[in-house]
Structures are given as C-alpha cells and as structure tokens.
C-alpha cells in the first residue's frame, strides 16, 4: 500500500525526522491561506502517487501572491498520468545546500533489510542503480539486532564529511529504520535529504510503501489509504479476499493461484488475444467467492468473453461450478464462458455445469484458443 507525500511526512514527524514547514490543501482558498502561514516564496506540490510529478508540471515555486493563486488553480484538478490532482502540499521553500538520497528496503537476495545512501539526491534511485551502482552505499541491518548505531554512523560518514552533520544523518537513518520496522514498510525513502543553508538536515520529499502482509497490525496506516485514488474494483476485490488487477484487453480471466493466473494471461496473449485482467480467486474456494469474482470482473465493460482456468487442488471444481451457476442466475451474464476445470472433483463440476451453456476446454491451451475464437 502506498501513501501520499504529505501522509509520509506526518509519519516522519511522528518518528522525529525533520520535514519542511508545510500544509496539505484541497482548494485554492486553502492554498492561499497556507501560503500566508508558511511564507512566500513557497512550493506547491501535487499529491499523486506516481513518479514524475515535477516533469508533468505538478510542482511549482510561487514567488508572490499572484503566482500562489495561479499555480494552485493550475495544479488542483490537473491530470498527471491519468490521475486527477485533488490535494496539494504547500511547503516552505528550503534554501538547498546539498541533496542526498536515503532509503530502506528489504533486499530479497541477501534476505536482509538494507539502508541505501547516495550523494546524489532528488534523482531516481533505480536510474542510478542501473547506471552507476557504485554510487550507492549499502549497509545491511542485522536481522535480529536491527540497525546498529555504528552502521548508521557509517551511512552518515559516507554522505557527509563534517562529523556533526554525519552524526545528525546517522540519527535520521536510525529513525527511518525504526519507522520501517515498526510500521512494516516495504520502502521508506527520503529523496532528497537536504542539508540546507541554515544547517538543518531535512526530508524535502518522503515516500513510504507498506507491506500488505503487515497491514493487519497497523490499523492507523490502513486508515491512511486514499480510496479515491485506487481502482475501486481492485479495492473491492481485496476486501473480498480476491486479487484483481485490471488490464486493457477483453478476455476476462478467472484463475486459482497467482502463478497460474499470470500464465493464463500470458497464454491468451501468446495465442493472439488480450487479457482483460489478472484475477486470482485464491486457494480455498467457495461458490460465493466465484460469484464475487464474476461480479468484479463484469464491471469492466471491455470484457467480451470469460475464461475460467482452474486447476483444483485445495480449490474444488464443484465449488467453482456452483459459483458459476449461481452467478449466471443472479448477474444475468451475457458474455460466453469458456471453462477449463481440472483436478479435485472435476467430474462433479461437469455434472453440475452440463446444461449451463458453457464452452468446455480440456486444457489451458484449448481454453485460451476457444476464448479468442469466440471474439471473432
């Protein structure tokens, strides 16, 4: 789960990491009000959870009252990569001395939490990782003891020559690590970390992603979810314990298991079709779950054919079959359904579905091909 910059900064403050004086606003009036409080010049930053806000014109420095109004009007409501800007952050214009990068993730290969630092801030870390990986300094936290103070100092002394600033930076790294662990983050990033001309070390931008598996123990974080900016169907699917991602094609896929679901999408594409979605109904099935899955799937008006690909293990094919039957009754499904159901209780499923008007497939390949055929 992602949160907005202004939310990440609220969390930063809670953990003692200094951020610029700033205020989140939803209207031009609020922006004008905030600019008086914060002072002019001030920075107006679009709050959208996609990269490249700056290039898209979503970040502007207002140098006078007129510009405050002008930029607020321009940015609020602006469309950035398909997302409409509903909130802006009005921020103190910091007098930047130097910019650095500080971020924490779990390193899959080392199976450890890693703190990354780079003397170049404000640039995309993945870009640097690809082009000059040696510019990124990595320090691994001890898996059981956490980020030891001497390792935090290592980060500080890498970024700054002045020991006082280095130790201040070490303290920020330690706080960022505590935040990362205490809130089950999957990414906590200060980019740029600014050493300003008045001598402060300050988080000019903030990014925190959360591990969905850890959200259950952080209801306060879950409460920060911006439901407006998420796909309603994906949200709905998650609430019903389904995993759904909308794509742009027209063949709706219903599959058990994430790997098989991806394989199904790939196979549709392989044979010349276009998958409308990723949809994993998960392990233990029930007719109700299948109903819910179809309901979500059908909200996508692009779906012209439905392709069920089920390999029963824990999932019982008869459960799926019963779900299909019920859904057909209640949801008045007009699209043709191609069904490939194999494994646990496949015979029962066939019995249940024999008069349901489905197109049966005896393999994944067969199913994908039949689904594509139906579109012609």
């Amino acid at each position: 789960m992602k949160v907005h910059e202004y939310q990440a900064k609220e969390i930063f403050k809670r953990f003692g990491i200094q951020t610029p004086k700033e205020k989140m606003c939803r209207t031009v009036e609020e922006v004008v009000e905030a600019s008086k409080e914060i002072g002019i010049p001030c920075v107006i930053k679009a709050q959208v959870m996609v990269g490249g806000r700056g290039k898209a014109g979503g970040i502007k420095i207002a140098k006078n009252d007129t510009e405050v109004v002008e930029y607020a009007e321009a940015i609020l409501g602006m469309d950035i990569k398909g997302i409409s800007v509903k909130k802006v952050l009005v921020s103190e214009a910091v007098d930047i001395g130097s910019e650095a990068y500080l971020g924490i993730i779990v390193d899959r290969t080392e199976k450890k939490t890693v703190v990354m630092a780079c003397k170049e801030g404000g640039v995309e870390i993945e870009e640097i990782a690809r082009k000059k990986p040696e510019a990124i300094y990595k320090v691994y936290a001890d898996s059981l003891l956490g980020l030891l103070p001497y390792k935090a100092r290592e980060i500080g002394l890498f970024l700054y020559d002045d020991p006082k600033v280095a130790f201040e930076c070490a303290s920020i790294a330690a706080k960022l690590y505590t935040l990362f662990i205490n809130l089950d983050s999957s990414l906590a990033e200060i980019n740029p970390l600014v050493w300003d001309k008045s001598g402060r070390l300050i988080a000019l931008d903030a990014k925190i992603n959360f591990d969905d598996n850890g959200l259950f123990r952080h209801p306060d974080v879950e409460g920060m979810r911006d439901r407006e900016s998420e796909d309603e169907n994906e949200l709905n699917a998650r609430e019903k314990d389904l995993s759904y991602v909308r794509l742009t094609g027209n063949i709706g896929c219903v599959v058990n298991g994430a790997g098989l679901a991806m394989a199904t999408m790939d196979l549709v594409k392989h044979f010349g079709g276009e998958p409308a979605n990723f949809l994993d109904i998960g392990g233990s099935s029930s007719p109700e779950k299948v109903m819910n899955a179809l309901e979500i799937l059908l909200r996508d008006r692009n779906v012209k054919v439905i392709f069920f690909n089920i390999f029963g293990g824990i999932t019982r094919c008869d459960d799926v079959a019963n779900g299909i039957l019920e859904a057909k009754k209640k949801l008045s499904i007009k699209q043709p359904i191609v069904a490939r159901l194999t494994g646990t209780n496949e015979d029962k499923a066939m019995e249940i579905l024999k008069e349901a008007g489905l197109i049966f497939a005896n393999s994944m390949d067969d199913g994908a091909k039949k689904a594509i055929e139906l579109l012609k």
Binding site: V106, R108, T109, K111, K112, T113, E124, E126, R130, S143, L144, F180, I181, D184, S186, D211, D212, N213, G214, F216, R217, S243, V245, L247, V255, N256, G257, A258, G259, L260, A261, M262, A263, M265, D266, L267, V268, K269, H270, P275, F278, D280, G283, S284, F311, G312, G313, I314, T315, T342, G343, T344, S363, M364, D365
Partner: protein, 289 residues
C-alpha cells in the same frame, strides 16, 4: 533417490487440528507420507487421522523422532511455529502459511540459517518426491515417479507443469514450490545444488515469475556449476509494472524483475525456455525421450 523428502521423512504437522491441517494430513497419509505427529497447543493427547497430537514440537520430536515439519497455522502464528520447530531440532520445515510480514521473515530466515535446519517457503505449496512422500498441499494424483526435478515460485502453476510432464509420459523425482514471497528460506540455487547430487534427477525445470532476480542468479549458477539439462518457464509477460500479481513478491519494480529479462537470462545461460506449460513438457520429452 530424491531431495528434501522421501521414505525416511518423519513428518510432524503443525496446526494439525485446523481445517487445512487435518484435511491435508489425510491427503499426505493417503499418498504414503510417514506422518508421525501433529501439534496444536492445548490439544495434546488427541488424535487426528490416527496421528497423535502434542502440545509442542519438542514433545513430538522426543516421542516420535519427527525430522520434518509442515506448517498450516495462520500467518500471525507462523513465525513462532517456525522458531519452535527449529529449536526442537527439526531438519526441514515446509511452511505452507501465507501472508507473513516480510520483516518477520527476515528474522525467521536469519534464525533458521543459523541452525542445522532448512526452511522451504513460506507460502509454499509443499514438496513431493514422487512415490516417496508428499509434504504440503500439492495434489498427489498428478505425480509419477521419474527423473525430472521441478522447482517453482508458484503453486497451481506447478501442478499445471507437472501434469503436462506426467501426461507426456515422463515422471518426476522431486517437485517443490519455494514460495512467492520476497523473502523465502530456500531459493532456486539451493535446490539446484541438491538436484546436482541427486542420482535420480536427470533434468530440472525452473518455473519463475516476475519480481526479484532469483531467476537471473539461478541462470548464472546453472551455466557455471550445473551439468544436467535445465528448462525454464517464466510467467508475467503481460503483467504491468508496479502492480502486485497476487504474491507479495510478484511485482515489477521500475525496470527490474520483468519476465523479458528473466527469459533473456535463462536463454543466455543455456536454459531453454518454454512458451507455454505444454511447451515445457514437449522440450523435456525431446531431450529425455
């Protein structure tokens, strides 16, 4: 021969009295697995499918000489279940539970690696050594004793591949799902190391997916150290960047972890990649006859 599990496996089922635990205990016994004990705290003294239930793993190990455990407890309790097994002297822990927070897994994995103990998973469908033992939730009927080893990051997709292999007339030595999470106990390379020494295994299939770079690391390992034929299959070619595809680990971050780069890594290092699951079985059949 085979790897991880076989006739000598003495299995303890953690969470045996739960819905999944009891169901799969029956399935594993049916397959021929030597299930010697179950554990559910507070249920010690009971029986499930004829298997004695204990309050603690240490007690189960002491009374039944269990050497392998399979974990069916909810994610919230799974790390503790792993620590308990590792402390009790269990040598192989197969964790089926999914949804464990990554920062817990970092601790769990470090702890287990420090003991003489291996963790498979979490979020693993389990391990099957065909005709020997089945530990986990993979459906037993699709397997046939043979010479192909299968290692996969996913569950049902593994069944699909195995099913194709069996239907092609070939069989399997050992098949396992290593789990779809970003932090897991056992990765491709460790499985390959064991397959290399397994006399029964003549070829290996690596089933990968988007996210991370385990497939790339495995590809380099295969080229440098592995002398048996390896085939690959990668899913997620149509997955958009930044969107999690079910598994916590199946996500393309920025430009890293795409199916294209994984397929490229496989092919550059001598691993033939199938276009579809059926294709993988066909390639295997061509090679092994």
């Amino acid at each position: 021969m085979s790897i991880f599990v076989d006739k000598k496996t003495r299995l303890v089922v953690q969470g045996i009295t739960g819905r999944d635990g009891s169901f799969h205990t029956a399935q594993m016994i049916k397959y021929g697995t030597n299930v010697v004990a179950g554990v559910t705290p507070g249920r010690g003294g009971k029986e499930v499918e004829g298997v004695p239930v204990f309050n603690a793993v240490a007690e189960a190990v002491q009374k039944t000489e269990a050497n392998t455990s399979v974990i069916f407890v909810p994610a919230k309790f799974a790390p503790d279940a792993i620590y308990e097994s590792a402390d009790a002297g269990i040598k192989l822990i197969v964790c089926i539970s999914e949804g464990i927070p990554a920062i817990e897994l970092v601790k769990v994995v470090a702890y287990v690696e420090d003991k003489d103990c291996r963790l498979i998973g979490p979020n693993s469908p389990g391990v099957v050594s065909a005709g020997e033992a089945k530990v986990g939730i993979l459906p037993g009927h699709i397997f046939k004793k043979g010479s192909v080893g299968v290692v996969s990051r996913s569950g049902t997709l593994t069944y699909e591949i195995v099913d194709h292999i069996t239907k092609s007339g070939l069989g399997q030595s050992t098949c396992l799902g290593i789990g779809g999470d970003p932090v897991i106990g056992t990765k491709f390379i460790e499985c390959l190391e064991l397959f290399a020494e397994d006399g029964e295994t003549e070829a290996v299939v690596l089933v990968g997916e988007i996210g991370g770079r385990d497939e790339q690391d495995a590809a380099v390992y295969v080229k440098e150290h592995f002398n048996k034929p390896v085939f690959g299959f990668i899913v997620g070619k149509t997955a958009p960047p930044g969107k999690r595809m079910g598994h916590a680990g199946a996500i393309i971050a920025g430009t890293a972890g795409t199916a294209a780069e994984k397929i490229k890594a496989f092919e550059e290092n001598g691993i033939r990649v199938g276009e579809t699951p059926a294709d993988v079985a066909r390639l295997l059949k061509e090679k092994l006859g």
